[in-house]
Symmetry: C2
Subunit: 349 residues, 2 copies
């Protein structure tokens, strides 16, 4: 308990310092050195021998012939950065989103309140928010000629249940009729707004997605990665492939990781890692299984001598968090716990 | 000439003032009050009666059945904003991209140098950069069930020729073999990097795209819109639908507009507008036609008593600019001319 208090004080001090790093007259000011973005990774492809396609440009009008053949750039990813005049973190913070989503997960929350990008900028991190290959500004490529399968689109029902906003079977088309988890921290009234952030995904692009993430890591790291859900496996794999470039990983409900049985944990034991889990996981077999597999991976890393910490929020008396905890009403409270861990892991100056 | 000099001085003064608006100790600092983003517009749709689809999640593995039916949020658009402590512009600046592209057009240039978002932030504008419905972080919807046609993908050859990087017929797959326009300002070595920003587009989404833009204008305006290429028609139409909310339009090589014959110019004569055209347009019949039609629209606005200015860059002794002038090597020189016009149009404080 004492330790927690000290940590919370630490974090508060950090916050105070950062705001002062802004213009003296306005304590909310972010003193920003630069903003920008880039595409990284990917490859050139040439399509040939495809039949000319007919596309109707105006409903009712005659279709026009479009030749789909030619040269394209595909399978890059996109990142946007905000760099501070006086960062307090030792390394830039890369924020990697989960499945069917984009970097928007970390920006303003669906309820209109500041998200984790804003929080970690204000605690002194140079922040990079990316869209994985195939999503958002990274863009996507023709299928089946380049991507090998068709995309799929997440229904609101799937999101409602998978993200643990409400129990299985509790989704209704009418927002007023939906039954959320008792005590949920998710702003239920903003669920449909969150659904606007959904982006189609492919099931057959993991290798290309990983290749783009690896190119991204080589471009901007050394860094710390904060990763969510589907992104977890990409971040752990990136760490195994470039252990010297990744200085820490915060894995927020990662859904997967390399097989512990075939992983050389000695390669990544020098990278401090924190797993963060929300509420209600023990009520859902799907999530129980994921937590169990992730705990095996984490304990293997720990056994190899790594700093492999885990924060089960309910055990820390923080209740009601969904899989989308960066959008939950108490997202800042969770971010502060992550910030405290970053302090303890030596990731701040 | 005198006038130009005065204007350039004006602009330089503006620049100096802005940098001082940052932290006194660092003249490159942007004093940022807030950053954030949102999705706006769109609608809820329900798909039903569609057959379960089989998707192969792992090449070689048996396909899994995926039910595509359910509730979705579709046809919203996305905007990201950066707000300054001390904006010098009277209204926020909304930057709308062109066809087959996203808001990335205005961020860091493909050659890695600062783009127009950065320029206009540093001259004191609160800047909003958006992705139109169907592009980038706005996301896209299933076709043909929701979108009515299939998307098309721009080849590098089309971009090379359409954007006037090189003459028709001069594109080659091998960058070393490409013949650019003599004196081009486009950073030819970064052309393939620009191609990574390409995003598929649909020919049948104009109404939904306009609806999202109109919702966006209602949410964040009064504002000034800087718009490129395909976006032009959406911006002019938005102005006709909400003339009181739009305080100025900078149309950078707009490719279309409402039919002048049926447009009530008296509704928008109070909105100062500037058309900006690059080089080589007179060499290409496609662009000659677009310029001619846009000049008709502009002259009608002028005849109705509006401030409808035009900047043909070559006539201002600025040569070599492509259709993607915000990515050209002299993009800041063009932005400065736009900034000078904004001063002259009373859009700065």
């Amino acid at each position: 308990m004492k330790k927690t208090v000290r940590h919370l004080l630490l974090a508060s001090t950090a916050l105070a310092t950062i705001t002062l790093a802004g213009c003296a007259t306005k304590d909310h000011t972010l003193a920003v050195k630069d903003v920008g973005s880039f595409h990284v990774g990917g490859r050139a492809v040439t399509l040939s021998g495809l039949p000319t396609r007919e596309i109707v440009f105006t409903p009712g009008a005659a279709p026009l012939k479009v030749d789909p053949n030619g040269d394209f750039e595909v399978e890059a990813m996109y990142a946007r950065y905000t760099l501070l005049d006086n960062p307090k973190a030792r390394y830039p913070l890369l924020m990697w989103h989960g499945g069917g989503l984009s970097g928007v997960s970390y920006e303003t929350k669906p309820d209109g309140k500041p998200g984790w990008e804003n929080y970690f900028l204000r605690t002194g991190h140079n922040v990079y928010v990316s869209d994985a290959m195939e999503r958002g500004r990274a863009s996507w490529a023709r299928y089946p000629e380049i991507f090998k399968s068709e995309p799929f689109f997440r229904t609101k029902k799937e999101g409602w249940e998978l993200f643990r906003i409400g129990p299985v079977g509790s989704y209704r088309s009418d927002p007023a009729q939906r039954q959320a988890m008792p005590g949920t921290q998710f702003p239920v009234e903003a669920f449909d707004q969150m659904a606007k952030q959904s982006i189609p995904r492919w099931a057959t692009n993991d290798a290309a997605t990983q290749a783009a993430y690896d190119a991204y890591v080589k471009k901007v790291c050394p860094c710390v990665i904060l990763v969510h859900s589907q992104g977890g496996n990409f971040a752990f794999t990136a760490a195994l492939q470039n252990p010297d470039l990744i200085k820490g990983i915060v894995a927020v409900e990662p859904s997967g990781s390399p097989d512990p049985a075939t992983t050389d944990f000695s390669k990544i034991k020098g990278i401090p890692m924190l797993w963060v889990w929300g509420d209600y996981t023990e009520q859902m077999p799907f999530w129980q299984g994921i937590v169990k597999r992730q705990e095996t991976f984490r304990q293997n890393l720990q056994a190899a001598g790594g700093k492999a910490d885990v924060l089960f929020l309910p055990q820390a008396n923080i209740h009601g968090n969904s899989h989308m905890m960066m959008m939950d009403k108490n997202s800042d409270q969770i971010a502060e716990r992550i910030q405290v861990w970053m302090d303890s892991a030596g990731l701040m100056q």
